[in-house]
């Protein structure tokens, strides 16, 4: 029978903090390595696009940030659900750790999307693109969750309230996406079209997939950094933390 103890131990901040300290350099190192390889490959070695020239290369930053930003919201919401159902302290902390990282990624995706839009569409912001608009709404959803954290003096209640809002947002995200899609096709026929995403050449796709994997790793490392902070803030008065810190400094 498999040993599941490690899984239960994840619920203990003390055990988790020690693990996180061990995992962090590996995740960060691996992530940065993969990301650098993918970016050098994508930015320097992939042949230019026959239509967009070199400007398409921002895709290697834009697409990974967008993909991970969206996934992060769901990870955050799942952590919120776990926190609400099983009352796990750590799940609350994970949720809180993800919010700023996810918001930052969403912001990056928006900015790179706008930069990419200028040479491709001729404008920084094009409301006809449903994805752009949905990402903006996602950004606001992240900001709302973060604002709710800050409004509560009691950390635990702030976490739980934010979990409720994050879950409500999760139900809404597909609806928002579809409705924005519907909206953008209603108002005026799209005069500008995205290049065909599915018809992407495999030599362009490979570094992109690599960049997405690298971004996931770096995202995990950033969340761990935040999570360590959350554990210290949440467990600040406990004895084990003082012990742990003294041992570490010794």
């Amino acid at each position: 029978m498999a040993n599941w103890q490690w899984f239960h131990r994840l619920g203990s901040p003390k055990w988790l903090l020690a693990k996180l300290d061990r995992w962090l350099p590996w995740l960060l190192g691996l992530g940065l390595l993969v990301l650098i390889v993918a970016l050098v490959w994508g930015l320097a070695f992939v042949p230019p696009d026959y239509k967009q020239g070199n400007s398409f290369r921002i895709m290697y930053i834009h697409v990974p940030t967008a993909v991970v930003a969206l996934a992060a919201y769901y990870v955050m919401a799942v952590a919120g659900a776990v926190a609400m159902i099983w009352r796990m302290k750590v799940a609350d902390m994970v949720m809180r750790a993800i919010a700023p990282v996810g918001a930052a990624l969403t912001f990056l995706a928006l900015v790179t999307g706008a930069i990419w839009g200028k040479p491709t569409w001729g404008a920084y912001w094009v409301w006809q693109d449903a994805r752009l608009t949905s990402m903006l709404i996602l950004f606001f959803l992240y900001l709302g969750v973060m604002a709710l954290y800050d409004a509560y003096n009691n950390r635990r209640n702030g976490n739980r309230a934010a979990a409720v809002v994050a879950l409500a947002g999760t139900v809404n995200i597909p609806i928002i996406y579809k409705s924005v899609d519907w909206w953008s096709s209603l108002h005026q026929p799209a005069s500008i079209k995205f290049t065909e995403q599915s018809a992407i050449a495999s030599e362009m796709l490979q570094p992109l997939l690599l960049a997405i994997i690298g971004t996931y790793f770096v995202f995990a490392a950033m969340v761990i950094l935040q999570l360590r902070l959350q554990i210290v803030l949440g467990e600040g008065r406990s004895n084990w933390l003082a012990e742990y810190a003294t041992n570490k400094l010794r």
Binding site: F140, A147, L148, A151, N172, S179, W183
Partner: protein, 236 residues
């Protein structure tokens, strides 16, 4: 096995609590002067301001009317929601409600429904006036009212989630807006889309169905989140 008799009493208690809360809240609203009038005045005021900003040209107004009506209705409902649980929270009624063995889910539906009746319904009744002010043809008013009926219900139920998680905080109003406005995106798209379709003379079935579906989902799902939010607020 549930005994048929207990099942029936369960059903009874569900609807009894819904009905009791609904009646009580309505009575409170009607005894508070302005509870139903203030949101309406707010909406009329903001429409007037929009008109002053855009200019007296009726064509220009009609072009923007769909957006104005929906944004204003949305703001009116959202701002009034701040008070939905506040007095109950302050005088302890909410605590009794949470302690009560009766299902909270139905109590919440009763509360939100009563609130909708004093905020959403007046807006719906005033929709001919909105149309007149913004130069929308009278023939579209029934559709406008129907859209506002469905839409304001969704807005009330989703907005109540924001009211529930912020009721214990001093800085209610603005925070509700930050949390809830992103969730209002589908409502404004389909609500304004409905008017747009009607103005263009197209079939309005699709947006009407979407709004109805969203309303059903909101009535069923939102009370769960509202209940969770109220329990958290009561803890703090």
């Amino acid at each position: 096995m549930t005994h048929p008799a207990t099942m029936q009493s369960d059903n009874e208690s569900m609807f009894r609590i819904l009905h009791a809360i609904f009646q009580r809240d309505l009575r409170v609203y009607f005894r508070t002067r302005g509870a139903w009038l203030n949101p309406l005045i707010f909406v009329l005021l903001v429409i007037t301001l929009f008109t002053l900003g855009i200019g007296p040209d009726v064509k220009q107004l009609a072009l923007n009317a769909t957006a104005i009506i929906w944004v204003v209705a949305l703001l009116g409902i959202m701002l009034s929601l701040d008070a939905l649980f506040r007095s109950d929270y302050e005088d302890g009624t909410l605590e009794q409600l949470l302690l009560s063995p009766r299902p909270l889910y139905f109590a919440i539906i009763g509360k939100v429904a009563a609130h909708w009746l004093v905020t959403g319904l007046p807006m719906l009744l005033a929709s001919p006036l909105f149309a007149l002010m913004l130069g929308i043809p009278i023939s579209i008013v029934p559709l406008l009212a129907l859209g506002l009926f469905l839409g304001s219900g969704i807005l009330s139920f989703i907005g109540a989630i924001g009211a529930a998680v912020t009721v214990s905080l001093q800085t209610g109003g603005l925070l509700i807006a930050l949390i809830i406005l992103p969730l209002y995106v589908p409502v404004i798209i389909f609500g304004a889309g409905l008017l747009q379709y009607a103005l263009e003379g197209w079939s309005v079935v699709a947006p009407l169905m979407m709004l109805s579906g969203l309303l059903c989902a909101a009535v069923v799902l939102a009370p769960l989140a509202i209940g969770a939010g109220l329990k958290i607020s009561m803890d703090s």
